[in-house]
Amino acid sequence: MATPTLTRPAPSATTANSLKIRQPRKKLTVGRIAAIAVAAFIAVLWLIPFAWATATAFKTETDAAAPDVTWLPPSGFTPEAFVKVFQDGNIPLWTWNSLYTSAAITAITLVISALVAYALSRIDFKGKKVLMTVIIASIIIPPPVLIIPLFYQMLALNLIDTSWAIILPQVIHPAMVFVLKKFFDQIPRELEEAAVMDGASRLRIFTQIILPLSRPILAAVAIFVFIGAWNNFLWPFIATNDGNLLTLPVGLQTIKSAYGIQYAQNMASALLAALPLIVVFLFFQRQIIKGVATTGLAGT
């Protein structure tokens, strides 16, 4: 079945959900065959870097550095490079660092963004318009512009070379506030009225009615923020120097100097670093694609 999963009816902030799924026309025409051929060609092209890295990683160092560039090495394939990387590398440590910092960033972002988005969507309070305008305007601030003052701030707070320095500045996502607010706007108010009659507090309405209805968008935002945090290079690179705190992307940057020119080991490290998100993607492909598609247009 080729049902496009992207348009499965789901409440979404940026894509209207009333539209119908367009079933692909099944006729095999010359045009369609050509399209499939081109699509396949691009797909192969796009898979080559993975394949070449994998082939290299399973070679001996001698074969990898041999002047005869070949897919099938003369001494055969061996997991040697992976074993080596695991023995003297820090990949498990870096993976753990990435995992807990990204999880913390995602959790804090979700909580604070959903709270403020709820206020912007449902509560009438003085200064709301100004707040909304300021948040929207801040979307255009590119993080690299802030590296110097943020570094200085972390110096002043004595947080350089701590996990907090990685986490704290990464939890502000104005665009995600906007995405959540638009979603909350679409939730029918009638659902809350009964609770209001019962005298439920705002916080209770928020946690017991709004949040459960917002699972898809919360998941989408979480996925988007997590991927961003997991792969962020520039800020963790600036905020940490201590080898015990490096995240995966930053740690990986140091292997070139530590190993010298060990091509097989370099590729083995790169693949091991790539593995966690790729595996997660294989399992949660639909959610991830939907998440990126719904939040993506709101900006990064």
């Binding site: 570094f151 972390m154 120097n241 080898g243 100097s257 010298g260």
Partner: protein, 416 residues
Amino acid sequence: MATGLTGCGGAAQASTVQDIAFWHLLSGGDGIKMQAMINSANQANPGFKVHPTVLAWGPPYYTKLAMASAGGRPPEVAIMHASRVPGYAPGGLIEPWDLDLLAENGVTASDFAPRIWEKSQHNGKVFSIALDSHPFVMFYNTDVAGKAGVLASNGQLQEVNSPEEFKAMALEMQKVTKAHGLSFGYLGSGSQMWRLFYTLYKQHGADMELTPGQPMKVDRDAAIESLEFMASLFDDTIAAQAGDISTGIAEFARGGSGMLFSGVWELPTMKKAGIPVDAATIPTLYGTPASYADSHSFVLPRQLKLNEDKRRDVYKFVTDVLKGSLSWAEAGHIPGYQPVVQSQAYRELTPQVHYANAADIIAYDPESWFSGSGSDWQTYFAENVQNVLLGRDKAAAGWDAFEQRTNTLLSRPNPV
């Protein structure tokens, strides 16, 4: 063991192993030797364990070291080129060594050659402890030299005293190799161009001073003459016109030339290549013996919270490494610690002993916050003189552009 005795009341902690973070920028053969020295220090001292972190040579390493020191949670000890100390000491990014504590561990000023000890000081305090000096020297292929008839009676290369004599000797070697007389790769490497340039410049007996707020003090004629001489070597007969460092090394290693200008650290590569190699300081072509050099030195990055026990362990570690630096000498470097240099074992190392005299004639970079090994300043040098060496630009033009670039740097606010 003995480590427990040095701590005051630290007996309770003697059982816990202190983790000492150590950063360095040594890769390849140097990195392997350093790892071996760390391992033996760790073995000899059960009270601590040194964990090395290796970062890429040059700006990446020094940038990270400065950032970590500013942040206050840097490694307990790090390697720094002595030429970089003026960029780190004044702003307090590194801390001075305690000479009493060094003496307790059996190391004093008299254990270092005067030039090297002098270099380890800044404003009267000792900020760096030199593991070595690594001058820029000349390797030569004794086989080629012998056939070319340029060996002296002691089996070493005959002495030459002028640019003309040197070129004549190189041409003799070229007739033997049929390729080149000399190997020197420099493309894209400011450090490499600077090493040879500064050697030749200092051989003029000239000085160079970099004082913020003032134009650079330099002997322009000596600088231009040095550049012109360099350019005249790259004529595709004496030496290849264009090639990078590794091309030059590979050429010499396969016998494609008679001589190689290079840092001493390439010695293991040459030995591995199996060619008959000897070495000497770069011939004195302009009257004053001089040789560009730098020192890998130990420094103490600034700590937010100083752990006295760890500091003591660092002193023990560093002094142990110094005392065991014979293996570092095997990698080509001249140990900074004189008892090793004067040992019989060192005197039996050839060709190391043939350039050990370099320690008396070494010239460190002119001091400033922006100069030194692997600095951006060396990159600017490359940007301005590479075309001179390639024969596309006049030496005077390239030099003046570099001088102007340097003056711009000097005119800017001094950040240290």
